[in-house]
């Protein structure tokens, strides 16, 4: 098998539907189409897909990462990884890590000062993945998800702005 990665084609319904399937398959949070459109329409370049180009269905994504990037607290550009999923058949091959790395590179080159995400406290696969990329847990949030699971917020700081308090940065800007 040979895996390639490319950005989502917003006009390709097959890709969008497969992305929804991949994410809906095993996540606890329920998302409406609005949530997907919120991310994909505004930040299509930060929605990256993985394809097995040696498979019969080489145009169907087997993994995806959906992210966004926006100004946080008028102080820093914050990248945010919203969803990351890989088809069960393609797990433990480093595809999720590659998707995350590609998204980080995109966000970094796009000017992000930090990248943030949340994940369930007992999702050890996700925690291992992100922590192996340098994310650290900055807070725990009780009953964060609808299934009443706690979440960790993780951040990867990319620039000095990420480690300054927002009000200090805002004062400097003034």
């Amino acid at each position: 098998m040979k895996i390639t990665y490319r950005a989502l084609d917003l006009n390709n319904d097959v890709q969008l539907n497969k992305v929804k399937q991949l994410i809906d398959a095993d996540l606890s949070e329920p998302y409406s189409i609005y949530v997907y459109r919120y991310f994909l329409n505004q930040w299509p370049e930060l929605a990256l897909l993985a394809f097995d180009i040696e498979s019969e269905d080489k145009e169907t994504p087997i993994g995806c990462i959906i992210s966004k990037s926006e100004c946080h607290a008028a102080a820093r550009e914050r990248g945010y990884i919203g969803m990351l999923a890989v088809d069960h058949k393609y797990r433990r091959m480093g595809i999720a890590k590659n998707l995350a790395k590609l998204a980080i590179v995109k966000m970094k080159t796009g000017g992000c000062d930090e990248i943030m995400l949340e994940t369930e406290v007992d999702n050890f696969a996700a925690l291992n993945l992100y922590e192996s990329l340098g994310f650290i847990r900055v807070k725990r949030m009780y009953k964060y998800y609808l299934n009443h699971g706690d979440a960790y917020r993780l951040i990867l700081p990319l620039t000095e702005k990420a480690v300054q308090k927002s009000y200090i940065l805002n004062e400097e800007l003034r």
């Binding site: 917003l10 006009n11 994410i23 095993d26 996540l27 606890s28 949070e29 329920p30 998302y31 409406s32 189409i33 609005y34 949530v35 329409n41 945010y80 990884i81 919203g82 969803m83 990351l84 999923a85 890989v86 999720a96 995350a100 980080i104 970094k108 949340e118 994940t119 369930e120 999702n123 696969a125 996700a126 993945l129 992100y130 922590e131 990329l133 340098g134 650290i136 847990r137 900055v138 807070k139 725990r140 949030m141 009780y142 009953k143 964060y144 998800y145 609808l146 009443h148 706690d150 979440a151 990867l156 700081p157 990319l158 620039t159 000095e160 990420a162 480690v163 300054q164 308090k165 200090i168």
Partner: protein, 764 residues
């Protein structure tokens, strides 16, 4: 799935026609709309949407953001509550018909409904489930609340013609609805956080606020219990129902704790004894009638939430026992005899276990009265002054009776009052929220330290009488500055250690965190020593003052009056230093432990340095972000940290000898900590009577003991782990041991989560 954005709850006004018709009683079929009442617009929709681009956004004036997103949830099984499947028995369940053919069946049904309803309340509140999936799944609650809109002022809602339903179950339902009003009021105070503490979405059924007359419901419950206890019902298997009604009866009095600041815990005791009784004797074979608990409310009412399956309550009344015990503990704070006892109550109330959210809310509303009074004993100025006096200002120039002092300190008092009450509120939060709030207040304590120091410097230049030391020999020790510094230090330590409890730190971060805690604890010890110095100096001066210095008898009396307070303070300081020393020694131990593992190349505090996106310095600064702005962090740069940490790494020749020395040092640290913990435990057990320390834990004895016993267990576990590690590691550092071993943080039950075990494990 490797991570997920949180589903955002959408709040929007009620707009469902079916819900309105149902509430108005114009339709009794909540399964509306039926297929033949709908017009199929699929072809129109498809024709129009085929002309759209994926990026097009449709907006109309009539359809706002919330309606728009809600509409997009249609047919999504996880989100669309209108698609909840219902059984016929749920659709046609009638609250105005008596269920059960015989009297025995009706007793069993009513008892089973009441029992499940009570257990659903604790499932909701204790187990953090949603309101619709628990209490509101009871058809009688839904029916009662709907009917209340049209029948305000009455609580006789059920009209089945059967006494068991119309009198007994009706009264139980009224009691629950009254209690809901109390919970709703608590929620409106914003003390508890939506979702993380309490999930209360009544789906626009808020008629419980119409239930105002507690006495009427109480009387009806009392009468019901009397009737059921009469000879007429003696042989009718109603004992369980009577017991249940006692809990319903107690339920409506919980609000008295905050509305009347009632210290009466008789009804809480009743909940405990009755629940104990029910746990033993309740007949669990009873089942409520089919359809009496249903998801129908989620389907038919104005529902902004996704689908929540009904949570079946467990067959136990322990939830009520837990709630009542936590509430009893919360209000016991009124028995504190001194600010030390009060503050220690706050310190230990939630320290080792999460308390019931209601008890945490009740505590905050109970201690801080509407008139600004603290537990009905202290006004603002008195409260702050007493806290200071119990720590460092007794017999100093910081005397609020002096007008000049008071004028200069009035703003400081305000700020300190805010800081202390915020600290109380922060500690009363759930543990995750507590750490975040504590962290965001570190800077405030730092500012207060600066502020107090500025005022004290000014006061020092004024012609103020020092109550003992006319030469002001001790005044340069700045008692208020020391108090605020001690508060700041303990806040930083607490914030840092709670990160371990919440499992925020990865193993590679341990060394930085434990070294930092030991460093702050050392600073803290210096601060406490200085205070001790003031207190001892004052105490000794009073003792040594001779008659020729005492001009009047009044002076003698005044000076002697300081002695008991100073003696208390000195004992309290001894406890604070011992407590601080335990944390310091264990943190030093942990730093050494990491240092050994680092010396063998198994773990490194900078082990992410090779990663492409990572700057270890940025990670370090992010971890300590909350502390930016404090004096410590100005000195403690990343480079300075590395320099300090490297002192704990063993290298060079005579490795084994150096290692042995470190191990000895570590064992000494544990031994020191053990001595202090044992002395603290001894003082707690003795109620501070005839002990060298004053712990002030009389009201939270079990909670304080639990904390220090956990620390004691940790000391043993850390010692055992050190032995295991030293045996597992080779005599010399050779080869790449990182390929063979890895380090995991272990949290053993019964040990203190602030000091997880750095466990050495072999890779598979």
């Amino acid at each position: 799935m490797y991570g997920q954005v949180k589903y955002q709850r959408i709040e929007h006004p009620r707009y469902n026609l079916d819900e309105k018709l149902y509430l108005l009683g114009l339709t009794d079929d909540p399964s509306w709309p039926k297929d033949d009442e709908l017009y199929d617009i699929t072809h129109i929709f498809k024709a129009l949407s085929s002309q759209m681009d994926a990026k097009d956004i449709v907006k109309t004036k009539e359809c706002g953001f919330y309606e728009f997103t809600h509409a997009l949830e249609v047919n999504n099984k996880k989100l669309d509550t209108s698609s909840i499947p219902l059984k016929q028995e749920e659709i046609h369940f009638d609250c105005n018909k008596p269920h059960g053919e015989t009297e025995e069946e009706r007793i069993n049904f009513v008892t089973a409904i009441a029992s499940r309803l009570l257990r659903s309340i604790t499932t909701w509140l204790n187990d953090h489930q949603t309101f619709p999936a628990t209490v509101l799944s009871c058809r009688y609650i839904e029916h009662f609340l709907i009917q209340l809109y049209s029948l305000p002022g009455t609580i006789d809602i059920l009209k089945t013609g059967d006494e068991y339903y119309d009198t007994f179950l009706n009264t139980c339902t009224a009691s629950v609805c009254y209690f809901l009003s109390f919970v709703s009021n608590i929620q409106e105070t914003s003390i508890l956080y939506e979702d993380e503490d309490l999930s209360f979405d009544p789906m626009a059924l808020d008629s419980f606020h119409l239930l105002r007359n507690q006495a009427v419901i109480a009387k009806k419950l009392e009468d019901s219990i009397k009737i059921l206890s009469s000879p007429q019902y003696l042989n009718k298997n109603v004992k369980d129902l009577i017991n249940l009604m006692h809990i319903f009866s107690s339920l409506i009095h919980i609000e008295d704790l905050v509305s009347k600041y009632s210290e009466d815990s008789e009804y809480l005791d009743k909940i405990i004894t009755v629940s104990d009784d029910l746990n033993v004797s309740y007949d669990w074979s009873r089942m409520p009638p089919n359809g009496s608990f249903s998801m129908i409310a989620q389907k038919t009412l104005s529902n902004n939430s996704p689908v929540h399956s009904i949570v079946e309550p467990v067959n136990s009344f322990n939830g009520w026992i837990d709630l009542a015990k936590d509430l009893k503990l919360a209000i016991s704070v009124s028995q504190s005899k001194s600010p030390i006892e009060f503050l220690q109550f706050v310190n230990f109330f939630t320290r080792t276990q999460e308390r019931h959210p209601l008890s945490r809310a009740v505590f905050l509303l109970f201690y801080s009265r509407k008139n600004g009074n603290i537990i009905g004993k202290y006004g603002k100025n008195e409260f702050v002054d007493k806290i200071w006096r119990e720590f460092s200002t007794t017999a100093t120039a910081i005397d609020l009776q002096n007008e000049l002092v008071f004028q200069n300190l009035s703003l400081v008092i305000d700020h300190c009052y805010t800081a202390v009450t915020e600290w109380i509120r922060n500690l009363t939060n759930n543990h995750a929220r507590a750490r975040r709030c504590i962290g965001s207040r570190i800077e405030m304590w730092s500012d207060i330290e600066t502020q107090t120091h500025t005022v004290e410097q000014y006061l020092h230049k004024q012609p103020l009488p020092d109550n003992i030391d006319s030469a002001k020999k001790a005044s340069h020790l700045w008692p208020l500055t020391l108090w605020s510094r001690a508060m700041k230090n303990s806040t930083i330590i607490d914030y840092s250690l709670r990160g371990f409890e919440l499992e925020l730190y990865q193993p590679f971060e341990c060394m930085e965190m434990t070294w930092f805690v030991s460093h702050i604890a050392s600073e803290s010890d210096e601060t406490l020593r200085e205070v001790e110095k003031i207190l001892n100096s004052k105490f000794n001066q009073i003792s040594e003052l001779t008659g020729q210095l005492l001009k009047t008898k009044q002076n003698v009396k005044k000076l002697n009056s300081y002695k008991p307070q100073l003696a208390r303070n000195i004992k309290y300081l001894k406890y604070l230093r011992a407590h601080n020393n335990v944390l310091r020694k264990l943190s030093i131990f942990q730093t050494y432990q990491f240092g050994i593992l680092k010396s063998y190349g198994i773990i490194d505090n900078n082990e992410l340095k090779e990663l492409p996106f990572v700057s270890c310095e940025l990670l370090h600064n992010l971890r300590f972000k909350k502390l930016i702005g404090t004096k410590f962090m100005k000195k403690l740069t990343y480079a300075a940290f590395q320099k300090f940490l490297n002192q704990y790494v063993i290298n060079g020749p005579e490795f084994q000898e150096k290692l042995q020395k470190v191990v000895e040092e570590m064992k000494l640290a544990l031994a020191d900590a053990r001595i202090d913990v044992k002395e603290i435990i001894h003082s707690i057990n003795k109620g501070d009577e005839d002990t060298s320390m004053l712990t002030g834990t009389r009201l939270v004895k079990d909670e304080a003991l639990s904390f220090y016993e956990e620390l004691e267990n940790s000391i043993e576990l850390l010692g055992n782990n050190l032995d295991t590690i030293t045996v597992s590691l080779p005599e010399t550092v050779s080869g790449d041991l990182k390929q063979k071993f890895f380090v995991k943080l272990r949290y053993d039950k019964g040990s203190c989560p602030y000091f997880p075990i750095l466990t050495l494990l072999e890779k598979q």
